[in-house]
């Protein structure tokens, strides 16, 4: 057992995958000498060489498009997109090529590509550095989309994503990179495509992923002081969704709040709400409520804390749910 930051856990996970499989290559802007702008790839180029940790041209479509060719040559590329808002130049390659090639080729061309994207806000960044594009990828058949929320999960999930024979969009909560957690490297990890109850409760089920998991856990602690018991589930996988643990929870609590930074409209929460309604209709005591971004671009950073869902907004939704 050791205490480790989320960024270092990812670094250790990448290292473990690279040690275990010589076909794993890391590629992206500034991932080599600099070790990535968040230092997630720190030291990897020094240890694995420039052929396996590739400082690429500033060309996101190029990063993903060449990863396709490398995958056809039996490599397992791990692409770093430096910030969420920079993924769009690669969107065509991700959606039209990476996601579809296994299907188009009748299964002859697996695409074991991981696309790492630091996502979400809360670090006081300039525009295009704080976005939450996950729904756009979850809406694309052929991709798997996961989000880690803590260091221990990050360590295992990055290795599982790399081992997966399908393309995985791997979302990293950038504002949690420096937060520490205990990591037991001997413990058996949960499967990659599984959600996880991270706090037991009896009154309301709160669903979150990535950076919002911590916010929701803090909300649950605060609510407990007021006598409300919140169960928090970390969704972890956004495509496919793993909602059986959610249904089980909702059948006990009857109330659900879904929380994400991404805009509410047509977001992950909308899909989750629809499925819960289909599966748990008679158990629901209140409509599924959503807390998330407004239909605006991400705001300037001086007001981002007001824009982002926080403890109060989560608890406001919990109260509204309980009031039904």
């Amino acid at each position: 057992m050791s205490t480790i930051t989320l960024a270092k856990a990812l670094n250790d996970g990448l290292r473990a995958s690279m040690e275990g499989d010589a076909k794993v290559v890391v590629m992206g802007e500034d991932v080599g000498k600099l070790g990535g702008v968040f230092r997630v790839t720190d030291g990897l180029q020094k240890d694995f060489g420039e052929d396996r940790v590739i400082d690429t041209p500033l060309s996101e479509s190029g990063i993903v498009g060449t990863a396709v060719g490398l995958a056809m040559r039996d490599y397992r590329p791990v692409c770093e997109i430096q910030f969420d808002g920079f993924v769009y130049p690669a969107y065509d390659q991700i959606v039209s090529q990476v996601a579809k090639l296994h299907f188009r080729s009748g299964g002859r061309l697996p695409m074991p590509i991981v696309i790492r994207i630091p996502f979400g806000g809360g670090i006081g960044a300039v525009e295009h550095h704080s976005e939450s594009p996950e729904a756009q990828f979850a809406h694309t058949a052929g991709l798997k989309v996961v989000a880690c929320s803590n260091a221990a999960d990050a360590y295992w999930m990055i290795q599982q994503a790399i081992a997966c024979d399908d393309p995985v969009v791997f979302l990293e909560p950038k504002r949690r990179y420096w937060e520490k957690a205990n990591l037991d490297r001997e413990a058996a990890p949960a499967p990659l495509l599984s959600s996880k109850v991270v706090r037991d409760g009896t009154d309301v089920t709160v669903l979150a992923y990535g950076p919002m998991v911590k916010t929701c856990l803090e909300s649950a602690i605060a609510a407990a002081e007021g006598g409300t018991s919140i169960e928090v589930i970390d969704l972890r996988t956004l495509s496919p969704l793993d909602l059986e643990p959610v249904y089980a929870s909702v059948r006990r609590t009857g109330r659900v709040v879904v929380v994400h930074e991404a805009v509410v409209n047509l977001g992950i929460g909308a899909e989750v709400a629809a499925r819960i309604t289909e599966q748990c209709f008679y158990a629901l005591e209140a409509p599924v409520l959503r807390v998330g971004g407004f239909d605006t671009p991400y705001p300037p950073s001086r007001i981002e804390e007001e824009y982002l869902p926080d403890l109060d907004r989560v608890l406001d939704a919990v109260d509204r749910s309980l009031a039904y």
Binding site: S59, S61, G62, G69, H102, G106, R108, L109, P110
Partner: protein
Amino acid sequence: MPEEPEFVQLLTPEGERVEHPSFAFDGDDEMIASMYRDLVLTRRIDTEATALQRQGELGIWASLLGQEAAQIGSARALRPQDFAFPTYREHGVAWCKGIDPVALLSLFRGVDQGSWNPLETNFGLYTIVIGAQTLHATGYAMGVQRDGAVGTGDDDRDTAVVAYFGDGATSQGDVNEAFIWASVFNAPVVFFCQNNQWAISEPIDRQTRIPLYQRASGFGFPGLRVDGNDVLACHAVTKAATQRAREGSGPTLIEAFTYRMGAHTTSDDPTRYRLSGDLERWKLKDPLARVHAYLTRHAGLAEDFFADIEAESDVLAHRIREGCVAMADPHVLGIFDKVYAEQTEELAAQQAGYAAYLDTFETQTGAHA
């Protein structure tokens, strides 16, 4: 139109061999005769596919008419281990890579999205998003480098990658990014651009103000223009460029100057945007006629050689037709199978749900019967 720059030409439209200071065709007349066979059969594949579309057997077809020499010449220069990444019009390259012409049709018939195995044939799937495959080619070439399959001097190991694309694709970001990546990583890739003068209705001057091959110099690697209707010249320049790639000397841009003699696809009507006189002028430069003239006048091939190829092409056309109409529609439940290498429970449940839904119809039909 400004005067066009010189290109590499080794066989004139009249069928006369000419010398070039830098490039020579290194085959004999027997090889020219075999390439002529490829040209004729490829054109016949194309003609038959167009006819199949007109008769409703294909949804659409993208004709390569006029571009046979560019494709046969370049593809015949490849070694078995060399990998070619096509657009959706590389029927001649496919032929040289050993793809059954019937397999080309399934995409256009709408029964699948690519029926050959790229990893076994070293021929990528047809790529419809313009220019996307140039990045795949570059990445594959980077894999070749990492596998130590470049610059070893072993002819059976060293590998070149060829990215095929058209003049319209040169305006795409992906193509320009591929040029940059190939250049800075010195990747063993040849960019083979068939400039057929038209991107559907848009002429080449809507894509560029300078000859396309000259763009290579800005990216830091050599570019050249070749007579795209001259199979000998296309072979010679591609052989040199792929050899250069295999040796570890990096990428080359080849601009094969040719003409799309047909429509963009069977859905297109070129009479709306170009003059018939242009087509007539290009017909004088036909890629097959000049080889026919050479083989007749200078290689001493008699009429029975050509008659044999015609007979072979009739047999091929018949086989393509039979194969096409025999293609069964896929079963709809199959669409769930290959979305992922590791199918998700979610998708398996969707598949089962749809299967159960379909079963209700069969039950009802049975009840009514």
